[in-house]
Amino acid sequence: MEDAIISVRNLHKWYSGVHALKGVSLDLKRGEALGLVGDNGAGKSTLINILSGVHTADEGEILVEGRPVRIARPRDAMNLGIETIYQYNSTVPTMSIARNLFIGREPTLFSVFGVGILDQKQMASESIKAIANVDLHLRSPDALVGELSGGQRQGVAIARAMHFKSKVMILDEPTNHLSVKETSKVIGFVRGLKAQGVTGVFISHNMHHVFDCCDRVVAMARGEVVLDKRIEETSIDEVHNVL
């Protein structure tokens, strides 16, 4: 598995007595778009939370580009190039687009112990570029994110992940609560990932969405991987049957 960007080996996770992940092993190949499907409680979110540093695994190991890593908090994942976009949307509605793009990673003119003066010029110019790169057309980086539509907000979150050169982008049910038109926009973003050389993990309830934009589908049930096939080798019916 020399071209695997992330490998997980035998991951276990218990939540107060519930065995949520039962020895999951998975290889994520560089540049592919992987669709992760499964019912509620199948372990998808647990797996993703472990990769993005929200939770830690009780057992098993994670390799990023072949090296074993420890992901204890979200910042560790981000430093490894793993960005996660959540269904609740990881943007702050009361802040501007420019400020949202740089949350936690603000460019500073100088800083003492990590606290410093913001480089607002750089933030403005880079955010205009970042937004344009994901084909999102917004009037101004100073507009509040709260005024954008759900799809545009996901666009901002994706633009942010792109801007920080993430290698792996995890999209955790990003199309929930979105209209049909906006959903197709988000699916367009996922398709665009490959062109930018980003590996994507797309989690969805909707099989059609997954078959629309992914190269490979992994199905989980009861904390285990029950199916792992390339899109062209399987069908929506087959995936439904194993769930």
Binding site: S52, V54, R73, P74, R75, M78, T84, Y86, Y88, N89, S90, T91, V92, P93, T94, M95, R99, F102, I103, G104, R105, E106, T108, S111, G114, V115, G116, I117, L118, Q120, H137, R139, S140, D142, A143, L144, E147
Partner: protein, 325 residues
């Protein structure tokens, strides 16, 4: 032009600012020009720093999504601790340092209990309101200690400036206001405060140390309140254990009048200060206009509700202005 209009409508402190200008004009006319004369302004500017500093702390804490009801008690406890130490012969700078440490510890406890036990800060700090007030009286032994005669009043309460317009405390206030305002709007830490209060899950998932950010805001709020209490005690010349009672709600009113949101994420230091000035102006202006002073609290209450309604309305209007493109 439309863009500019929209940007200003979105400013949270706008409603407060408009009310401020209106009230100044009304009181100036009603008091036959006494309101804005030098003596009256001097009196108001002398008291402003004390409530203003508390409002700054409360505003910043509210932006981070938390609440502090213990500021009024800390306002009394800090100078009382200093006074007791100084009676024991501790020099002023050391007593000041010790007083600030007491405030920092109280702020830390407020934050720690709130965050790690996941209790609403409303409850934590309500408890601390009683605890700190009780400690103030216990520490004093029931009698306010006599302050020593050689206090550095020149550094905190003496009048300075053209026509002896300001007290030194005003310069402290202006300096702290400027620094905290810059911190909130121009530093990455300010960005973290707004993100933490604006939408906590997003801030946490972006790797912001939200617990530490909130903790820092709690500590800052307590220290500003204690420092403000010391300014008042130095001005009055005696550490009364009852000072600052009711100040916590006045500070929340200041922050809210200035556009801060109870839900967090929205607000500015300037707004908190505008709110404080409004309250001070009403206090003073009602007296000068020969209105029964008992209407003071009525006016504050009305103003609080009115400012919030006006703010909500303006934000809605701003949102309705669609920008092309």
């Amino acid at each position: 032009m439309k863009r500019l209009f929209k940007t200003y409508l979105e400013k949270p402190e706008l409603a407060g600012l408009i009310l401020l200008v209106l009230l100044v004009v009304i009181f100036e006319i009603r008091s036959n020009g006494v309101f804005l004369n030098q003596d009256n302004l001097r009196g108001m500017l002398g008291i402003l720093p004390e409530t203003g500093l508390v409002a700054i702390g409360v505003t910043i804490l509210m932006i981070s999504g938390e609440f502090d009801l213990s500021v009024g008690s800390v306002f009394a406890l800090m100078p009382m601790c200093m006074a007791v130490l100084m009676v024991e012969g501790v020099p002023f700078p050391l007593a000041l340092l010790a007083g600030l440490v007491v405030c920092a510890v109280i702020g830390f406890i407020n934050g720690y209990v709130t965050i790690w036990f996941e209790i609403p800060s409303f409850i934590t700090t309500l408890g601390m309101l009683f605890i700190a007030r009780s400690l103030t009286i216990v520490v004093s032994g029931g009698f306010p200690p006599l302050l020593p005669a050689d206090l550095p009043n020149w550094l905190f309460t003496s009048f300075v400036g053209p026509g002896n317009m300001f007290r030194m405390s005003f310069l402290w206030f202006a300096g702290i206001a400027l620094l905290t305002s810059l911190m909130l709007s121009r530093t990455n830490f300010g960005n973290w405060i707004k993100a933490t209060g604006g939408f906590h899950p997003a801030a946490a998932s972006m790797g912001i140390p939200t617990a530490r950010v909130k903790l820092a805001c709690f500590v800052l709020c307590s220290m500003l309140s204690g420092f403000a209490g010391m300014l008042q005690v130095l001005r009055l010349g005696s550490p009364l254990p009852s000072i600052g009672e009711g100040l916590e709600l006045q500070a929340v009113a200041s922050a809210v009048i200035g556009g801060a949101s109870l839900a967090g994420g929205i607000g500015t230091v300037a707004g908190g200060i505008i709110g404080t000035i409004l309250i001070r102006i009403i206090d003073n202006g009602l007296v000068l206009s020969n209105v029964d002073a008992n209407w003071f609290k009525f006016a504050i209450g009305f103003l609080t509700i009115f400012a919030v309604v006006a703010n909500a309305w303006m934000r809605k209007r701003a949102k309705a202005i669609k920008m092309e493109g």
